[in-house]
Amino acid sequence: MRQMTERLDQQSASAARRRGGGRPLGTAIRYLIFLGPAALLYVPFVLKPLIETFGLSLFAWNGVSAERTFVGLANYARALGDPIFWISLRNNLYWVVTSIVLPMATGLVIAVLLSAVRRGQRIYAGIFFTPVVLNLIIVGLVWGIIYNPLIGPLNRLLRAVGLGSLAIGWLGDRYAATPAIMVAGAWTFFGFCAVIFLQGLRTLDREQIEAATIDGAGPFRRFRKIIVPALSDQVTLLIVMSIIGSFKVFDIVYVMTKGGPDHASEVIATYMYWQSFMNGSLGYGAALAVMLTAVVAGASLAMMALRERD
């Protein structure tokens, strides 16, 4: 192919003069036309900063002073000995697990229910999808109110049903804060999962379900043994998205707890932000950023590799 395109390049100059439509473009020109605009955006605004971030991670720098001290991998070593880094990483892992389980399970159930109704499917889907389109500030505010220990409906409800002992200060409790944020996070993601699953269910081979019916499988078993496995494409997609999203999670934590109390709900992105902007340790923040990127890349690649293998 390469050989051919090169030959075409030589011809294209004269061909270009002759007619408009059908001339093949040279490789360089094709690169320019197709990837040029993307590169114009991507290289200066994503790739270059990314490389600079890596460079930055090798320095100690407070973000303002003129000179930066080269420290090699010291920032990385520092992370390994930093308990908050480990708390953050652990929280990220919680996020990975929870956001795979919670919104996906809810979304799957909803999708299965939706696929069974004839009328109003789109309206329901629209409603379940609404939280997906809201920005995280709104989500933070709305759930801040729900979790509010003073006026929040959650604690009111708990007290009303006699579970007053469970009415805690959700976002201020070092154990409850992260789960509480995750529930809010799930609220913004389950609708997406539901829609993806619903689409998968639509293309599901109806005969497979019927075969299982004849084989004697009841609704529950059909769901567990046939439907869920049949959605494996959707499941892997959502898992990859959840993994990436869970490691990158920032806004929702930032607007709900800023990583508190006592760094208990910190995730790497918020901790990195805090180190870079509030604590003036930009080199360290950059090292955290690089490590985060590496972890996300590793996890996604592993997941995709698993998917390929199957």
Binding site: P37, L41, P44, I151, Q199, I244, V296
Partner: protein
Amino acid sequence: MRRRKTRHTLILHGVLIASALLTVFPLGLIALMAFKTNPEIFANPLALPGAWRWQQIGKAWTDGHFGPYYLNSLQVAVPTVLMVVIASTLAAYGLVFGRLPGARYALAAILLGLIVPLQAIIVSLFHDLGDMGLLNSLWGLSLAQAAVGLPFGIFMMRSFFLGIPKDLIEAARLDGAGDVTVLRRVVLPLATAPALTLATLQFMYSWNDFLLPLIILHDPSLRTVTLGLFYLQGGTYTLNYTMISAGVLITAVPIMVVFFLLQRQFIAGVTAGAVK
């Protein structure tokens, strides 16, 4: 048998309606609060407002400067959407049909962008924007947002293009179509649905974006709606639930309207682009 089916349907709808209510409950709560007074909220956040105080929305609108902020948001979102849709489509076409040697590496570089957290590059990005004189400008914000949104756009359009049969492109080649013609007359007409979805998604992202505007825009007259909402809540030392709730409504309603209008294509596109 027939009767059993009707009962099934009823239960099904019951469950779905309950879940739907639960889903919108938080938003409903906020909507109610926008009409209440602060003491009413403290008394019982769940109760209906004593009166429907529409003027509170108006006050939030003017005090929060949402008028100009809407314009700013549009001024950012529209170019962002255009840039992302155009650049993603071209790039995805190039990657799938462009016979580009080494396209694998370009793709890998783009996928990297998909997994890099924005926070990871924001410090360097900020300095680079400064060097280019793009700080404190809506254009700068547009460019940054477009660049950040681009990897997903390329990924999504690429997934779609991968689903276009190769035969179709080859038929066009045999018909004498060059790259530009194939793109313009064969691929693009087919790509309108995913492109529309991408546009919607990108619009939402741009409209809802918080971190980039926060960092890039310094002049208050340049604030976007989301930033406006943030300053409405974070800007005072006292919590005015009424104002904030009204602000939430003001910010959320348009995006929800856009979503509901485009829902059909949008959801179809989300799934088409995603599962590949």
